[in-house]
Symmetry: C2
Subunit: 210 residues, 2 copies
């Protein structure tokens, strides 16, 4: 086997471990993540980890980055296929709800789990979690601004406030779908944003009626 | 000391422990709650617990009940002082945001912490957490229905959907105020609900302008 082959194999097992770490962390949180349990679930030795990461924090930081890439791939990229403006904004919200409804992650949402966990724990992992939330809100806001610039959304809209609103209505679908009526939670999460956007939209026919 | 005196003292230390347990759980979650650490923070012996509770689960269940009473006292009772209808509904939301902003609990919100924790863990504690969320949403819904019945809110409103909306916009203030700009998060959480209610209200002058 060539050195390139070994590097490729190493990269693959690194990706496999990170995917599994993000899945587990969506249930247990990143701090509850025991390297021993993770190793057992993946079927590698605990020392196998240290071929990839210096310590647990390094693994946690890369898990956050991996989860950001997963979110981008499942939610941001599909939304960017919709036409710019209010349709793209709503496509983003729908892609997020689909990600939750399809149970891509067993715990529902990696970010919700780690936001609750690290808000009280200063350090490098919290900084990375804050950055991810900041970037996500800034992205929603940029789509709102684009929809305003295209004349599709009312000029009186406060983009940061509408971004908070869309983010909050999507986020609450996680605990509500998991603890109360699942279908109803997703219906509410979808309709509240849809009706809000239709109410602010110069041409509501750009959006579904219901 | 009479038997009544001893009972009273026992009741008081029980309340003290529960208050401390709810505070700690708002940061660490209920499962992370170590009896040893709790005992150390309160300054009682670990065996002191077992005078009050059979096991950790019994303490967790009573902690949920205690947090429900705290929520009622800080949020529901003040709202009930406002006139029935849309003013009471908005007073409820404001009382909730005040509870968060005043940092009554060090972790922000006991319920958000335990909802994230127990959604994956079937058992008696999860059942109690689900009941608390169900009752809270039903209470918001009943205030919406009252406001509709009084002719203050549009008859076309779906009360369960508006309850989801108010709950989601309040809930997201916890992670957002703790991880991003605190003041901006509370401003957004307040204004989104205020503008939504004003938009649905027959007489917007019942509510503050901003």
């Amino acid at each position: 086997m060539t050195q390139d082959g070994r590097r490729l194999r190493g990269q693959r097992s690194r990706e496999t471990i990170l995917a599994q770490a993000v899945s587990l962390a969506s249930v247990e949180g990143l701090d509850g993540l025991s390297l021993g349990r993770l190793a057992a679930e993946i079927g590698i030795s605990k020392s196998g980890f240290f071929a990839h990461w210096r310590d647990k924090q390094e693994l946690q930081l890369e898990a956050v980055d991996w989860a950001v890439r997963q979110w981008r791939e499942h939610i941001v990229v599909p939304a960017l296929r919709a036409p710019a403006g209010v349709r793209r904004l709503f496509a983003l919200h729908e892609a997020r709800l689909r990600f939750y409804a399809e149970r891509v992650l067993p715990g529902g949402c990696f970010f919700l789990a780690v936001q609750a966990e690290f808000d009280d724990h200063p350090g490098a992992v919290r900084t990375r979690v804050v950055q991810a939330l900041h970037d996500w809100e800034a992205f929603i806001r940029s789509l709102v601004e684009e929809a305003v610039a295209l004349g599709e959304l009312d000029r009186g809209v406060d983009p940061a406030q509408l971004a908070y609103e869309i983010e909050a209505l999507g986020k609450a679908a996680v605990p509500h779908s998991r603890l109360l009526d699942e279908q109803l939670a997703f219906t509410h999460a979808r309709r509240t944003v849809l009706q809000r956007l239709r109410g602010l939209c110069a041409d509501p026919s750009l959006l579904p009626e219901d």
